[in-house]
C-alpha cells in the first residue's frame, strides 16, 4: 500500500534532484505567467473561505474516499464506475456550495490547505473513474470484472487497449480529452499472466 499511494515519499527527492541542476534563469515576478496564476490562486482561496457552509473538509474527504473504495478499487465494473461518476459530480457541487473552512488566508491554516487538496482529490477521483470506465479490460493490478478469462483471471485486450491514457485538462467543468499514447513492444511481447 505504501508504495502505491504515498507519492509524498518520492516527490521531495525528485524536487531536490531538479533544484540541484540550477542555477535557473531569473523569473520576473510581474510577468504574465506569475500574475495570472497568482490571481487564480487568490480567487480560489477567497472562494473557499467565503462559502462558510455546514460541512467540514474532512467529511467531504471521507465521503469521496468511500465512493472510490466502493467503486474504483482493485476490482471495478461499468455499473459501479458510472454510479461513482454521478456521486462525485454531486459531491463536487456540494463541496463548492457547503464546505466550511475556518480561519483566514493570511496565516497558517491547515483547514484551508486541506480544502485545496480535497478540491483536487475530487477532480482526480472523477478522472480516475472516467479513465477506469474507458479501459474495458483488466490491466496490471486492476481487475475489470467484465474482462476475465473463463477461470476468473484478468483478461487484457491488447487489440483495443495497448496504450497509455493521457487525459488533457480542458478547463473547469469541461470534459477531459483522451490522448492515446501507443505502447509498442518490439522485443518482449505481453502475454497472459498465469500462476498455473
Amino acid at each position: 500500500m505504501q508504495g502505491l499511494a504515498d507519492g509524498y515519499f518520492v516527490l521531495p527527492s525528485t524536487i531536490n534532484d531538479y533544484l540541484a541542476r540550477g542555477p535557473f534563469l531569473p523569473i520576473d515576478p510581474a510577468g504574465e505567467a506569475v500574475t495570472s496564476v497568482e490571481t487564480e490562486v487568490k480567487s480560489r482561496i477567497e472562494k473557499l473561505l467565503s462559502i462558510q457552509g455546514e460541512r467540514t473538509v474532512d467529511s467531504f474527504h471521507k465521503e469521496l474516499g468511500e465512493i472510490m473504495w466502493d467503486n474504483c478499487g482493485m476490482a471495478r465494473n461499468e455499473q459501479g464506475l458510472r454510479k461513482a461518476l454521478e456521486q462525485i459530480s454531486a459531491l463536487r457541487d456540494e463541496f463548492w456550495r457547503n464546505v466550511k473552512v475556518p480561519g483566514t488566508g493570511v496565516e497558517l491554516n491547515q483547514s484551508l490547505e486541506r480544502a485545496n487538496r480535497v478540491a483536487d482529490f475530487i477532480e482526480l477521483g472523477y478522472l480516475m473513474c472516467l479513465d477506469a470506465l474507458n479501459r474495458r479490460e483488466s490491466c496490471g493490478g486492476h481487475f475489470r470484472e467484465e474482462s476475465q478469462t473463463p477461470d476468473g483471471e484478468a483478461a487484457r485486450d491488447d487489440d483495443r487497449f495497448s496504450y497509455v491514457s493521457a487525459w488533457e485538462w480542458t478547463g473547469e467543468n469541461a470534459k477531459p480529452v483522451l490522448h492515446e499514447e501507443a505502447l509498442e513492444f518490439e522485443y518482449v511481447h505481453p502475454s497472459q499472466r498465469s500462476y498455473a
Binding site: F9, K100, P102, L108
Partner: protein, 107 residues
C-alpha cells in the same frame, strides 16, 4: 472514553499563547492519538472555533512528520511515534497535556 485535553494554543508569532482546556467525548480506545485530535478538530470547526494545528503525513509510523509533546514526553507515554500511539494507552477521565514537539527556540 471521555477525556479532558489541555492544549497549547498560539494564534501567530505575535500572540503570547497559552493553555486551553477542551473536553472530548466518546473516544474509542482503538483510535490513534491523531484521530482523537481529528475528532476534536471536527467539533471545533463545526462550532466556529479554530481547529488545532498539528503536523502529520503518513500516519503509519514511517515518515517522521508527526511530533507533539504529550504529558511532558515527546510522542507520549509509549515509545513510538504520535501517529502510532493508541488511545488505549490512556484511561477514561484522564487529563492529557498537549504541547508542540520539536526543539524550542531559546530566548
Amino acid at each position: 472514553m471521555n477525556l479532558k485535553l489541555r492544549i497549547w494554543r498560539q494564534k501567530n508569532s505575535e500572540d503570547r499563547g497559552g493553555m486551553v482546556s477542551y473536553d472530548v467525548e466518546q473516544i474509542s480506545p482503538d483510535m490513534s492519538f491523531l484521530e482523537m485530535l481529528d475528532t476534536l478538530n471536527e467539533k471545533l470547526t463545526l462550532e466556529g472555533d479554530d481547529p488545532v494545528a498539528f503536523d502529520h503525513d503518513c500516519r503509519e509510523g514511517i515518515c517522521g512528520a508527526c511530533s507533539l509533546m504529550i504529558d511532558g514526553q515527546a510522542h507520549g507515554p509509549v515509545q513510538t511515534t504520535t501517529c502510532q500511539l493508541q488511545m488505549r494507552s490512556f484511561s477514561d477521565g484522564d487529563e492529557i497535556v498537549i504541547e508542540p514537539g520539536g526543539p524550542v527556540p531559546s530566548r
